[in-house]
């Protein structure tokens, strides 16, 4: 068979992405049709920049969802004779007839399909980055609200600690936290123990302060959070092979691959001080408003005021920062992969594949370029989305 020309490659890739196109068009048609009823999300479709960003982000979200349909090969499958082949090379005779007959974006230095690895990489990135950002926000909000609201010694201590983390060069921190020797001491697991408590605390305080007067409802909600969240928390931090392994195997619902857990923890750790600073600044500004004083006069508890009066009014900047921060987290994940820290070298995530491809960059650039462009478009989409959201939220 002849190798595909560039035009044919683009057409083939376009066809592979069919499920994504269908999902994207459906989302856009429905959203534009109902945009007046959808609040801030609907307003996004008034700004071309926001729409472009949203389309880019959703493209990768749908790609991650439908990865199994889009991939042409198993991302770890090596076909002899396909090593470092250029994009569009037909399958060598060793591949067999039942496989897809081309390597659309070529083969990498271990003769694996670059296209399929890029597609599956989106799943790793889009699983870790948004979740890590949510965790960082939980930590930042839970600590930033009281620091800004109460001020005083609490604020001084917490601000000093957050500045301490911020003054640490990110790469040095990663190197210190993510080496096998440190993992052996269980330090990342202890950090996970500390950081993962915050979502639990946040949810408990959230419901406790809201339904404080409706005792039954509160008890049910808090108990649900504690039981569901608590068991998730315990099974997350209890890992066989680390110093913290206390749950019997029957109760331990799942084990996270230790590489992913460590990467996750360090990314949350690096991000939360910045969120803390933003939340604290917003609270310092909002707590001088009249409606806060009114709440205090009504005798509302401090946590009710923080979580149900101040936080909803700080949502605009926080949503914008959330989008930006997912992009930033994606970049950080890529940095970790680029230095070969954390995730295993077989992992298809974009940072690791760029790292693997850069050794032969000047001869065979395609294995590194595909994930590089993927990462760039995702982060660009998130930035454009944040920009559109900022513009639209400033309008009213």
């Amino acid at each position: 068979m002849d190798p595909l020309s560039w035009g044919e490659i683009i057409v083939q890739i376009f066809i592979r992405f069919t499920p994504v196109w269908i999902a994207l068009i459906t989302t856009f048609v429905i959203s534009i049709f109902y945009k007046r009823k959808l609040g801030l999300y609907g307003k996004l479709f008034d700004s071309p920049i926001g729409m472009t960003g949203f389309a880019l982000v959703m493209f990768w979200v749908f790609t991650a969802l439908f990865a199994d349909l889009i991939m042409t090969h198993d991302p770890l499958f090596q076909v002899s004779g396909m090593k470092n082949k250029v994009p569009g090379t037909p399958m060598s005779s060793a591949g067999g007839d039942d496989l897809f007959q081309y390597y659309l974006l070529g083969g990498d230095n271990l003769a694996r399909d670059v296209f399929s690895r890029m597609i599956l990489g989106s799943r790793v990135v889009l699983l870790i980055a948004p979740l890590a950002t949510v965790f960082a926000f939980m930590v930042g909000i839970t600590l930033g609200l009281p620091a800004g609201y109460y001020g005083g010694k609490l604020d001084t201590v917490l601000s000093f600690l957050s500045n301490l983390v911020l003054a640490f060069p990110v790469i040095l921190l990663f190197y210190l936290l993510v080496t096998p020797e440190i993992v052996q001491t269980g330090l990342p697991t202890f950090m996970a123990m500390f950081l993962f408590v915050f979502p639990l605390i946040f949810l408990v305080i959230l419901f406790n302060s809201r339904y404080f007067t409706q005792t039954t409802k509160r008890n049910v909600l808090v108990a649900t959070v504690l039981i569901v969240g608590g068991s998730l928390y315990l099974s997350t931090i209890s890992q066989p092979g680390t110093p913290i392994n206390f749950l019997p195997p029957g109760l331990d619902m799942f084990d996270i691959e230790s590489g992913i857990l460590i990467v996750f923890v360090s990314v949350v750790f690096v991000n939360s001080p910045t969120v803390f600073r933003i939340v604290r600044g917003l609270v310092l500004d909002i707590k001088t408003r009249d409606y806060v004083a009114a709440g205090q006069t009504r005798g509302e508890g401090p946590w009710y005021i923080m979580l149900w009066e101040i936080l909803p009014n700080a949502r605009g900047p926080l949503i914008v920062d959330f989008c930006l921060r997912i992009g930033y987290t994606t970049i950080l994940l890529g940095t970790l992969g680029f230095f070969g820290l954390g995730l295993s070298s077989e992992s298809p995530d974009w940072g690791s594949t760029i790292n693997a491809g850069r050794r032969l960059l000047s001869v065979f650039p395609h294995p590194a370029i595909a994930p590089a462009i993927a990462l760039m478009t995702l982060v660009l989409g998130l930035n454009l989305l944040a920009d559109g959201l900022r513009e639209e939220s400033l309008k009213d």
Binding site: I49, F160, N163, L164, A167, F168, P169, V170, I171, L172, Y175, L176, L177, T179, E181, I182, Q184, T185, L187, G327, I331, G334, T335, F338, F339, G351, I354, G357, R358, L361, S362, V363, F364, P365, H366, A368, I369, A372, I373, L375, M376, V379, L380, L382, N383, L384, D387
Partner: protein
């Protein structure tokens, strides 16, 4: 003002002490020390041999004591073996124990010995910082003027087509981390695949002799990522200034548009970007590490990676002191500079 600076200096010192202590603690965890002993001796060392090596070198003392010795506020570690031969932290190879100084820490100007490069840590860091200095200088020369021009041009007429194009460009540049743009630049401009061999994909030769061909790509790669952010900040502050009353007055009395921008708006619009540029230095450090690894330019970032990868304790501590120092000093300068540039802010 004086008290403000003094207080800031105090906090800075405290931060630096805390951070170096954390690095010290992390590098001195037992698995790390074991790895160090095995790389220094051999990889099939028995546990006893590891312990005796660590005892001889003084790594098994309590952590605060070791930290005090490194700082130079406690006397250096001394060890006498069975044959009566005395070695110690402060005793140089050919020196008699009696002649050696008692204290040898950072305060005495002794930064320790690198176990990877077999040299004084201060020599290595000094030499590599010089190399990185050239890179930083070139980056600043490219990044700051082009970012300011981009920002001012975009912010001059808010909402115009120029504004839209330039803003999108700066968003795109902040969305492209160094390892992505670097890879793309090397592939396009330095690989045989595209045929454009304008530049070199490695900057190793730039360590001796900086040329256009070997230094352009690393500089552009770092500058591009930082540029977008500064340009966006400049644009924001420029648009704010352009809506001010005195600009409208100037327009009404008939001052030409270029004159308004150059003489009235620019000066006030450049206060905010100053802070951002200062705070960009720590970020540059990140970029420097990535780019130096990618382009194989053996500067400070490269040493940091080598030291961290091999748990070279003294060198790593030296690197982190430099890095933390850069972060804290730029924060201080940006605070003080902000007050000087903007007379409306007063700090008691």
């Amino acid at each position: 003002m004086g008290r403000f600076i003094l207080r800031r200096l105090g906090v800075m010192l405290l931060t630096a002490l805390c951070l170096t202590f954390i690095v010290f603690w992390l590098t001195n965890l037992y698995p790390n020390l074991e790895k160090l002993a095995k790389t220094q001796g051999n990889f099939r060392m028995s546990d006893e041999a590891v312990t005796s090596y660590l005892t001889r070198e003084g790594y098994l003392q309590p952590l605060p004591v070791k930290y005090g010795q490194w700082l130079g506020i406690l006397p250096g570690h001394v060890f006498t073996d069975d044959e009566g031969k005395t070695t110690g932290r402060c005793i140089a190879r050919e020196q008699l124990p009696e002649d050696a100084p008692r204290f040898c820490g950072v305060l005495q100007g002794d930064w320790g010995y690198s176990t990877v490069f077999k040299d004084e840590a201060s020599n290595i860091i000094g030499k590599r910082l010089g190399l990185t200095g050239w890179l930083m200088l070139a980056v600043m020369c490219v990044m700051v003027p082009s970012a300011l021009i981009l920002g001012v041009l975009a912010g001059m007429r808010e909402g115009s087509r120029t504004d839209r194009t330039l803003s999108t460009f700066s968003i795109a540049s902040t969305a492209t981390p160094e390892y992505v743009s670097g890879v793309i630049f090397i592939a396009v401009f330095a690989s045989s695949a595209f045929g454009l061999k304008w530049f070199k994909g490695s900057a190793t030769s730039a360590m001796d002799d900086i040329t256009w061909a070997n230094f352009t790509l690393p500089v552009i790669t770092i500058a591009l990522y930082g540029m977008g952010y500064i340009a966006r900040m400049t644009r924001a502050s420029m648009t704010e200034v352009m809506t001010a009353q005195y600009i409208r007055t100037a327009r009404l009395k008939g001052v030409s548009f270029p004159n308004i921008v150059m003489k009235h708006a620019l000066r006030n619009a450049l206060i905010a970007p100053f802070t951002v540029i200062m705070l960009q230095f720590p970020w540059l450090l990140n970029g420097v590490v990535i780019v130096e690894t990618l382009f194989n330019y053996k500067g400070f970032g490269w040493v940091l990676v080598q030291a961290a990868g091999n748990n070279d304790i003294d060198l790593l501590l030296g690197c982190s002191v430099v890095a933390v120092f850069v972060v804290l000093v730029t924060q201080l300068i940006s605070d003080i500079g902000y007050v000087f540039l903007n007379p409306r802010i007063r700090i008691a």
